[in-house]
């Protein structure tokens, strides 16, 4: 005879566990943090060990404007998710669009910086250990920003078609976690590359 475990209904009514989207994103962020940690360790390990070629001091300029844009985008996305939770859809779209724009400015800034480094300063990934670790670490972060931009754009499109409403707050919050993570990683990368490493 097949049976089941039974219990008073009270257990069922009080039972609530965390939202799976947030936990899933936290897991992904854990894994990504581990990858970034290894690239940061490699960067720090190789500081000062290049046998030749330009040093960080000689070629790196602080990307202040791009960094301000990226870090502000955390504030705008926070405002966006707040607006969505209150069902203020037009505010949500506006803040979301700002977030996307600020992120795009950051990527354009990175691209210009790299163009300058490659063509004006002669620093490529094969030049020396600094080139290798710089482009891979900053590039890994930029790649994650690009993935975020694709997500931001997709959600913006959906929002413009009216598909994103208050009941999707949790889902959008989950994506916002990823975006905040990308910003925090930038703080670490900025510190390691442009402050400590120089």
């Amino acid at each position: 005879m097949s049976t089941t475990a039974i219990s008073p209904a009270s257990i069922e009514s009080q039972w609530s566990l965390p939202y799976k989207g947030s936990v899933g994103m936290a897991c992904l962020i854990t894994a990504e943090s581990a990858i970034f940690t290894i690239f940061v360790v490699a960067y720090i390990f190789y500081i000062g060990k290049s046998l030749s070629g330009p040093t960080p001091k000689e070629v790196l300029e602080l990307p202040i404007f791009a960094s301000i844009c990226l870090l502000s985008s955390s504030l705008t996305i926070h405002a966006a998710t707040g607006a969505l939770r209150k069902a203020n859809l037009s505010a949500f779209r506006l803040w979301w669009f700002l977030t996307l724009t600020l992120g795009a400015i950051f990527i354009v800034g990175t691209g210009r910086e790299w163009h300058h480094l490659i063509y004006d300063k002669g620093l490529t990934i094969t030049t020396n250990l600094f080139g290798t670790t710089y482009y891979s670490l900053v590039g890994l972060h930029a790649f994650h920003v690009c993935v975020g931009l694709i997500g931001l754009f997709t959600i913006l499109l959906l929002a413009l078609f009216g598909k994103v409403r208050q009941e999707h707050s949790r889902n959008v919050d989950t994506f916002a976690m990823y975006w905040h993570f990308v910003d925090i990683v930038w703080i670490v990368v900025f510190t390691v590359v442009y402050i400590i490493g120089r």
Binding site: L28, I125, T126, L129
Partner: protein, 557 residues
């Protein structure tokens, strides 16, 4: 006290066209089917990896043998190691986790079924990509372009200068791809266990199988990424001329070793912890007692998970770290033996005073206890760094880690097969053949891996395609090779038993073992929705509470 039937009688489905049936399997997102796909995939690669091992052992049966060329032999040990770790043990453990976790926590499926399917196919593709190297890569010279850099692919042997052609790239890319699959499955495992437990199943009332897979999943998230990162760096070196591990440009070969072993050591705990989980479910049922010391077992496992991330450089005692580095890693490695030993004592405590039933799953778990004890003790020998300076990179180490992976992990996996086969297939396996498999495998295992310690002690390094006569190694290599054939026969008996029983075995019923966790409350095999009603539980052994209403667990926990 009433009880509800929670599974309808299995309905015979109308027979479908073969193409429909195949399509349903290829596109499935059902955790049970994906679990079975993982397990079947692992069995296929177990056989392939076993053939590679057999080829090596035949080459080494006498000194200066000419069974295969050195190039082929070097490909064999690389492929054997890579296959067994990434395409046999990890998939089979993910397969069992996939199948069992939702059932044992009273859920309908994993948290993200489509991610689950995607992860499986990524892993599967990784395996096929690795084996494509035999015909891709450098073509068919010898045995094609399969990687020959060893499963840990030390730099700078993997640099373009020393590994021309694409064989190393096959190694790197296949593991990169399957690594993403592993991370996907780990995300699913963690989220499912954290978020989908049935009402009443707090973390303290979760069966150990769920706890240990939670720890394993969390570890995979942290630990596969260093390998992924290192492999990305290797790709940058090989394809874009970067210098991460390029010693000519000031790069460090030791850095690869650190990154690899930061993955590699916790990885072996990722492999063994689900094995512990199987033992923690099987031993209580066949001792007719609850697991001894549940809270300590959880704490010990979590401790092992943490400590395991601090011991990695015990694989690097010979690379010339300072005495302080060597001392630190010797200490952490010795420390991890404490929670591990605690677990062995708790399993013994479970058996103590019980009524032991020596069915096949239990036999394999007892073998596991015996062999894991020995493996742990040879591990302690290896943790004493100066002793390690003699033993490392020798056949002693090969014997040690096979003792863990085959003697401990594979034995618990066999136990899990026999224990849950009735649930998955609805039929009982043949007990006599199961016992035959056990005894044949025990004989073969001990012939091979007990005596393998001796050539290591006598100075025989690993990864050599032949060896000099007169060093006292010949007799031991002969015995080691003979043991392989017992194991081959045992595996054939195992596979034959499963195949035959799948079609002709006696019907198993819901609960052939009189067990106590939720998977035994539904039909065998379970319906696609697992439970007609999501159960609610009050203790770690919900079925014990039902079967023993006068003495339920929740009074004592």
């Amino acid at each position: 006290m009433s009880s509800e039937s929670i599974a309808l009688t299995a309905v015979r489905e109308p027979s479908r066209a073969l193409s429909d049936w195949l399509y349903s399997w290829v596109t499935t997102v059902d955790h049970k089917r994906l679990g079975i796909l993982y397990i079947l995939y692992a069995i296929l690669f177990l056989i392939i990896g076993g053939i590679e091992a057999t080829i090596m052992r035949i080459q080494l049966i006498v000194p200066h043998n000419h069974f295969v060329s050195p190039q082929t032999f070097n490909q064999m040990f690389t492929m054997h190691g890579t296959t067994m770790i990434f395409f046999v043990v990890m998939p089979v453990l993910f397969g069992f986790a996939n199948y069992l976790i939702p059932l044992i926590i009273g859920a309908r499926d994993m948290a993200f079924p489509r991610l689950n399917a995607f992860s499986f196919w990524l892993t599967a593709f990784g395996g096929f990509l690795l084996y494509f190297s035999f015909i891709g890569g450098n073509g068919l010279y010898g045995a094609g372009g399969a990687p020959d850099v060893g499963w840990f692919a030390y730099a700078p042997l993997t640099a373009k200068t020393f590994s021309m052609g694409h064989s190393t790239d096959f190694w790197t890319l296949s593991l990169l791809v399957s690594g993403f699959g592993s991370i996907g499955t780990a995300v699913n495992l963690v989220v499912t266990i954290v978020c989908l437990r049935c009402p009443g199943m707090s973390l303290g009332k979760m069966p150990l199988l769920a706890w240990l897979n939670l720890v394993m999943g969390a570890m995979v998230l942290i630990v596969i990424s260093p390998l992924t990162a290192a492999q990305v760096m290797l790709c940058l070196d090989r394809f874009l001329g970067a210098h991460f591990f390029d010693t000519q440009a000031g790069g460090s070969a030791v850095l690869w070793m650190h990154f690899f072993w930061i993955f590699g050591h916790p990885e072996v705990y990722v492999l063994v912890i689900p094995g512990f989980a199987f033992a923690s479910e099987i031993i209580p049922v066949f001792s007719r007692k609850p697991i001894f010391g549940y809270p300590i077992m959880v704490a010990a496992t979590v401790a092992i998970g943490f400590i395991s991330m601090s011991v990695w450089a015990h694989h690097m005692f010979t690379v010339g770290m300072s005495s302080y580095g060597n001392t630190f890693f010797a200490l952490t490695t010795m420390i991890i033996s404490v929670p591990t030993g605690i677990k062995i004592f708790n399993w013994l405590g479970t058996m103590w005073g019980g009524k032991l039933q020596f069915k096949t799953p239990m036999l394999f778990c007892i073998g596991f206890l015996f062999q894991f004890l020995i493996a742990g003790l040879t591990g302690i020998m290896l943790s004493a760094a100066p002793f390690n300076w003699q033993l490392s990179a020798s056949y002693f180490v090969v014997a040690h880690f096979h003792y863990v992976i085959v003697g401990a992990i594979l034995f618990t996996i066999f136990g899990a097969f026999y224990y849950w086969f009735p649930k998955m297939s609805g039929r009982m396996y043949n007990e006599k053949l199961g016992k035959l498999h056990f005894w044949l495998f025990v004989i073969g295992f001990h012939l091979t891996f007990d005596f393998m310690h001796i050539p290591g002690i006598l100075g025989m390094p690993r990864r050599i395609y032949t060896y000099e006569p007169g060093r006292g190694w010949e007799i031991w290599n002969l015995i080691v090779t003979i043991g392989v054939f017992f194991q081959i026969v045992a595996i054939l008996v195992f596979v034959g038993n499963l195949l035959y029983s799948m079609f002709k075995g006696d019907p198993a019923g819901n609960d052939p073992w009189d067990a106590w966790t939720l998977e035994w409350s539904t039909s065998s095999p379970p319906p696609e929705y697992n439970f007609a009603r999501i159960p609610a539980v009050r203790s770690r052994r919900p079925l014990w509470d039902i079967k023993h209403p006068e003495d339920p667990d929740w009074k004592y926990e």
